[in-house]
C-alpha cells in the first residue's frame, strides 16, 4: 500500500481549468475530463504519491472519512489504470 503511483509521462498532457482537469492521451488520441475530486488527486499523481497520501488529500479536501476516501482513490486509480494512464 506504500507503493508510489504515478501518471504516465509519455504522450500525456493536461491542464487544470476552473477546478477540473482536462487531459489528452496522445497514445489513444482521447481527451479526458476529470471531475473535481479526480482533479484534486491529479497533480499528486503527476508527481507520484502513495495511496495513503492520495486518500489523505481527498479526506482533507472533501471531509470524507478515511474508508470512503480510500475506496474513492482505489476506484479512481482503477479507472486510470484501465486507460493505461499509470506508469508501470
Amino acid at each position: 500500500m506504500s507503493d508510489v503511483v504515478r501518471l504516465r509521462k509519455d504522450k500525456l498532457e493536461w491542464r487544470e481549468v476552473e477546478g477540473e482537469v482536462v487531459a489528452l492521451d496522445g497514445t489513444a488520441s482521447e481527451y479526458l475530463a476529470v471531475n473535481r475530486s479526480g482533479a484534486e488527486l491529479w497533480p499528486l499523481l503527476a508527481e507520484g504519491a502513495t495511496r495513503v497520501q492520495l486518500a489523505a488529500r481527498l479526506s482533507e479536501a472533501f471531509g470524507l472519512d478515511a474508508d470512503r476516501a480510500a475506496e474513492d482513490v482505489e476506484a479512481f486509480l482503477a479507472a486510470l489504470d484501465e486507460r493505461g494512464l499509470l506508469e508501470r
Binding site: 504516465r8 504522450k11 498532457e13 489528452l24
Partner: protein, 305 residues
C-alpha cells in the same frame, strides 16, 4: 474547452517534433506556447495556435526532413518566395490534423545574424517535460524579449499578443526586463523591443525607465503600427535594387506562386478550394490594401508611424 483541447494537442505535437528533431541531430528552443503559458496563473489557459521552434540557422534542412517524415508540408518553398522579403521562419502544416509548426531561423525585429540569436537563446534554456519529452524553453529574460518582439511584429491588432504583453508587464520583475533589454541590445533588437513594449501604457513607461531609444527602422514601425500587409511589400519593393528586380517582384506579387499566396493569406491554406478562392480574390485584395498600405508606408518613412 475547445481552446484547452487544441492547446493540449499542440503540446503533444511540439513534443513529437522536438523529439524528431533531436533524433535528426537538431537542437531546438520552443518559443512562446508553453514558455509564455508559464506566466499565466494556475487554472487559466493561454491558448496557442501553432508550435514555434527556434533552430540553429544551418539546421533548417535536416529539421525540414524530420518534419516531412512526420507528415508536415512546407507552406511555401524557397523558390516560391524568391525576391520577397526573407521570412523569419519556415512554415509547415500537417493537413491530417491541421497542426502548424514554424521553424524560426530568427525572430522579427532582430537585426543580429541568426547564428548570434541562436547562441544567445540556447545559452540559457530551461528544460521542461512535455508529453514525456525534455523540451528547451527560453530563459525568463529571453521569453520576455520574445513577448515584446511578438507584440511589435503583430502591432495593436493582435489581442493575444497584447494580452501576453500585459500579463508579462504585470508579473515579470523589472530586473528580468532589464536583462531582456540587455539581450535585445546585443541582438540589435532594441527598436522592436521598445516598439513592442510601447504598445501598452505600462510598457511605454517601462521602456522609458529602461532608456530604450524611441527611433525605429521602417519595417519595425510598419509592423508595430499594424500597417496593412501590403505596406511591408511596398517597402521591400522600394528597397529592392534595380528596375529589373523591381519589375520581377511586382509580377510575382500580381501573379504569386501558390506557396507565396499561402504564406500571405490564411484563406489560401484552406485546401484546394481555399487556394482557388484566394487566387480569384487576389486582385481585389491587392486593390483594397494598396492605398492604405501606401499611406502607412509614407507615414512610417516620415517617422510618423
Amino acid at each position: 474547452m475547445r481552446e484547452v483541447a487544441r492547446t493540449l494537442a499542440l503540446d503533444l505535437v511540439a513534443a513529437d517534433v522536438v523529439h524528431a528533431l533531436r533524433e535528426a541531430g537538431v537542437e531546438s528552443v520552443l518559443l512562446r506556447g508553453p514558455a509564455v503559458a508559464r506566466l499565466y496563473p494556475p487554472g487559466t489557459v493561454r491558448a496557442y495556435v501553432d508550435v514555434d521552434l527556434l533552430v540553429p540557422p544551418g539546421a533548417l534542412g535536416p529539421a525540414g526532413e524530420a518534419l516531412l517524415a512526420l507528415g508536415f508540408e512546407r507552406v511555401a518553398e524557397d523558390a516560391e518566395l524568391r525576391g520577397h522579403r526573407p521570412a523569419h521562419a519556415h512554415e509547415w502544416l500537417r493537413l491530417g490534423d491541421g497542426a502548424a509548426v514554424d521553424l524560426h531561423r530568427t525572430l522579427s525585429g532582430v537585426g543580429a545574424p541568426p547564428a548570434e540569436l541562436w547562441a544567445a537563446f540556447a545559452r540559457h534554456v530551461e528544460i521542461v517535460l512535455l508529453g514525456g519529452v525534455d523540451v528547451q524553453l527560453p530563459s525568463p529574460a529571453a521569453t520576455a524579449l520574445g513577448i515584446a518582439l511578438h507584440a511589435a511584429h503583430h502591432g495593436p491588432g493582435r489581442e493575444r499578443s497584447l494580452r501576453d504583453l500585459a500579463l508579462a508587464l504585470e508579473l515579470v520583475p523589472e530586473g528580468t526586463w532589464r536583462a531582456a533589454a540587455d539581450l535585445a541590445g546585443g541582438l540589435d533588437a532594441l527598436p522592436a523591443f521598445g516598439a513592442g513594449l510601447s504598445l501598452l501604457p505600462a510598457g511605454a513607461d517601462l521602456a522609458e525607465r529602461l532608456s530604450i531609444p524611441s527611433g525605429m527602422p521602417v519595417e519595425v514601425a510598419l509592423r508595430a503600427s499594424g500597417a496593412p500587409p501590403l505596406a511591408l511589400g511596398l517597402d521591400w519593393l522600394l528597397s529592392t535594387p534595380g528596375p529589373r528586380a523591381k519589375a520581377g517582384l511586382v509580377l510575382r506579387t500580381l501573379f504569386p506562386a501558390p506557396g507565396a499566396l499561402r504564406s500571405w493569406r490564411a484563406l489560401a491554406r484552406r485546401g484546394r478550394s481555399g487556394l482557388v478562392a484566394a487566387y480569384a480574390s487576389h486582385p481585389f485584395w491587392l486593390a483594397r490594401h494598396a492605398l492604405p498600405s501606401a499611406i502607412a508606408l509614407f507615414r512610417a518613412r516620415r517617422g510618423g508611424a
